[in-house]
């Protein structure tokens, strides 16, 4: 999707330049931005903050929060663990939340299933997360885990939906620019009908 919209944008930009409406400097800015986006990822990601085990745990957790489904791939594919590692590398408070939270998760998993989180069975992993994710299961002794899960859930969601995969998943169609702003008639008709206001 993004390739097409970039091309559309550049076409529109070209037209604007022909009409004298945009400076060469501005055009260069956009070209640079597009070039940045096209840079290939350089090999496998090396975590800046997490140990190999912590990073693996984070990957498993991320894909449990936003898994692949029939519409799109999951959080790992969308770069959520890299995003979290990078932000932790720039913020020690956040790093503490994650290393502490991942450690808590392992210890809790070990206690319950005699296996660290990544080695627990998928239904065991989900059983543990269910204790953290639903208020009906909340218990005071789970507080550190609940707090950590809320952080991870929010940031995995942010990472996934700011990736090309997540942006395509929700169906965002913009960031291309248009000559004239128009709204599809069927969209308006649909909303009016459903609202009872039309």
């Amino acid at each position: 999707m993004s390739e097409v919209t970039r091309r559309d944008w550049l076409t529109a930009l070209g037209a604007a330049m022909l009409s004298g409406g945009i400076s060469a400097e501005a055009a260069q800015h956009v070209h640079q931005a597009v070039a940045e986006a096209k840079k290939p990822a350089a090999g496998a990601y090396k975590p800046k903050v997490f140990t190999a085990h912590e990073y693996k745990t984070l990957q498993v957790l991320a894909d449990l929060i936003i898994p692949a489904d029939e519409v799109s791939k999951g959080a790992v594919e969308a770069g959520a663990p890299e995003f979290i590692d990078l932000l932790c590398s720039g913020n020690s408070q956040l790093a503490l939340i994650y290393t502490g939270g991942l450690g808590w998760l392992d210890r809790e998993s070990q206690k319950r299933f005699d296996a660290v989180f990544v080695e627990a069975k998928p239904d065991q992993q989900r059983a543990l997360l269910d204790l953290l994710a639903y208020s009906k299961n909340a218990k005071p002794e789970l507080a550190p885990g609940i707090n950590f899960f809320n952080w991870a859930r929010r940031m995995v969601v942010d990472a996934f939906y700011t990736s090309p995969i997540g942006i395509a998943d929700v169906g965002y169609k913009g960031n291309k620019g248009m000559a004239k702003f128009e709204v599809p008639v069927e969209a308006i008709r649909y909303a009016l009908k459903r609202s009872g206001l039309g």
Partner: protein, 565 residues
């Protein structure tokens, strides 16, 4: 010690501040052939380099959250992608608040100031807005009327470009408009709901051009005005007025120049501006025939109060004692709702112009007694299929517990199904709200800072209560439910419409400036930001700042020509 070169040039006009007011003065004066020097406390703007328009979040590894995760720990700006701008706190430039008061003072330190990112809402004041005291006995009448300002509203709208529709509503006078973009789908629903409540819901009036003018391209509807516009299709004083004025050869821009004090001679006239050159941390002076303060309402008041001398013991242009007084901000209240009717709608590009394509002007201006509070508000709307960014789905993840495939499906379903409403209302100036020099605190250059006193009155609280009721009604008529609502009236200063601190008036005993925004006490001193405002109507101030600045600049040029200043 100040480094003053005696041989230094004397500028006809030194303008302090490069936002909406300073930009307009620079544009008008250079066009009239006047030699102008512009002091800006921040740096030079390079739109092509500084603006992050059209970037996707994934083009930076931190996705816009900031390299130190700022989005999760309290930002100090409007976000990574936002135009370079400013914030309520600036390193090394403190201010204080008096016990029992809260006030947040937004400053911008860059060529163009807040216009690089501002909301672009461009509303004329109504005729009655200039005569509030005559209307209901509250506040003070302006020394000018709508008829005095109308020709300048025309000039500003024609020059900067504003889109809108002609409606014939007294609370929202029509202007000279570009064709507005049509309402988005959710905005059509809002219009239908408002019709049931007899609330007008009309095209927004934003300083965005929809046909090319003055070498600027028409809007390309990417919805990213707040990032700064590389095609200059939205108004910013930097791109639309100041950088083009350089071609006149009449303009000298001095950046990183923090004005400290106005220097006066034995006759009490301003002869120079003392400023800190921030790059060398040294004091310099620039000589002038006249000076225009456009540093923002509170910064201009601060500069006058800090320009004390034996001749002006209360500060310059302050024999009345009103400088710093009558500080107001716009009231603010927001709510969002989930609208099930929007679920499953055809996904389409709703970017359009950044901000609502519709708004609701105040509709009870002739039924103010029924409303139960003396002054009105307008409503701004939000919604649509916006570009996903950090925090975009917070409402959904707060509404629904869980994770996994069900969460993913919920986010997909609720994307673009929220609408939001923001009320922006008039505050009546009161004796408890003002700024003064804090005797104990200086900024990093040794310049005494401002101390703020502020109180909302029951008038504003009752108005905000009405906003809450109205927004709830609109959401419910749309078949929706309220999702988030602000707990209380906005914190003073948060709407960033602070103004009124160097007010104009006919009587030198009760005002600092005359009807041309020229100081009663100092004839070669003018003010061209929102400080001269006598009231703070329910219309965003920028268009009126530009109109008054234009009027002041023309008057100033004429006075220079006649040799009166």
């Amino acid at each position: 010690m100040a480094q003053v070169r005696r041989s230094a040039p004397v500028y006809d006009v030194v303008v302090i501040g490069s936002g909406a007011g300073g930009g307009t003065v620079v544009q008008v004066l250079t066009k009239l052939g006047v030699n102008v020097a512009l002091l800006e406390a921040g740096g030079m703007l390079n739109p092509a380099k500084d603006f992050k328009e059209h970037m996707w979040p994934y083009q930076v590894p931190h996705r816009g959250a900031g390299e130190a995760a700022e989005s999760y720990f309290g930002r100090k700006d409007f976000g990574f992608f936002s135009a370079v701008n400013g914030w309520w706190e600036i390193e090394g430039e403190p201010y204080t608040t008096a016990p029992g008061s809260s006030f947040r003072w937004f400053r911008s330190r860059i060529l163009g100031g807040r216009t690089n990112h501002y909301g672009r809402i461009s509303l004329r004041f109504a005729d009655y807005d200039f005569k509030p005291y005559s209307r209901d006995g509250l506040g003070t009448d302006w020394p000018i009327s709508y008829e005095d300002v109308a020709p300048y509203y025309d000039k500003v709208e024609e020059f900067i470009g504003v889109f809108g529709s002609k409606e014939g509503i007294r609370s929202a006078p029509d202007g000279i408009f570009h064709t507005p973009p049509p309402p988005r789908a959710h905005e059509v629903l809002i219009q239908k709901a408002c019709a049931k409540l007899n609330i007008p819901c009309i095209s927004s009036r934003l300083s965005v051009i929809t046909r090319p003018i003055n070498g600027r391209a028409a809007c390309h509807y990417c919805g990213q005005c707040g990032r700064g516009c590389v095609t200059a299709s939205k108004y910013s004083s930097s791109q639309v007025q100041i950088l083009p004025a350089l071609k006149s050869g009449k303009l000298t821009i001095i950046t990183n120049a923090m004005a400290r004090e106005l220097i006066t001679n034995d006759e009490g006239l301003v002869t120079a501006v003392s400023y800190i050159d921030k790059t060398t941390r040294t004091e310099k002076q620039i000589r002038c025939r006249t000076v225009v303060l456009a540093a923002s309402a509170c910064e201009s008041a601060r500069l006058l109060l800090n320009s004390k001398s034996s001749r002006h013991p209360n500060g310059l242009a302050n024999s009345s004692g009103v400088v710093g007084r009558y500080l107001t901000d716009t009231t603010g209240y927001s709510m969002s709702g989930h609208i099930p009717a929007l679920v499953g709608m055809l996904k389409h590009d709703t970017d359009g112009v950044d901000g609502g394509h519709v708004y609701m002007p105040w509709w009870l201006w002739d039924k103010q007694k029924e409303a139960g509070f003396p002054r009105g508000y307008h409503i701004e709307v939000g919604g649509g299929y916006n570009m996903p960014s950090i925090g975009s789905f917070n409402r959904t993840i707060q509404r629904h517990e869980g994770y996994g495939a069900s969460l993913k499906a919920k986010i997909r379903e609720e994307y673009g199904t929220f609408v939001s409403f923001a009320g922006r209302g008039e505050m009546i100036p009161n004796e408890h709200s003002y700024c003064e020099i804090d005797p104990d605190v200086v900024d990093q250059w040794g310049i005494p800072v401002l101390r703020f006193h502020f109180k909302w009155s029951d008038y504003e609280r009752a108005q905000v209560k009405h906003m809450e009721q109205t927004f709830t009604e609109i959401i419910e008529i749309m078949g929706g439910t309220v999702v988030t609502k602000q707990k209380d009236i906005s914190v003073p200063g948060e709407i960033i419409h602070e103004l009124g601190t160097v007010r104009m008036g006919d009587d030198p005993k009760t005002s600092a400036l005359n009807k041309y925004c020229q100081a009663h006490d100092v004839k070669n001193l003018f003010v061209a930001d929102a400080a001269p405002f006598v009231s703070n109507p329910d219309k965003n101030p920028t268009l009126t700042i530009c109109a008054l600045a234009w009027r002041t600049a023309e008057y100033l040029a004429e006075e220079l020509r006649k040799g009166n200043v």
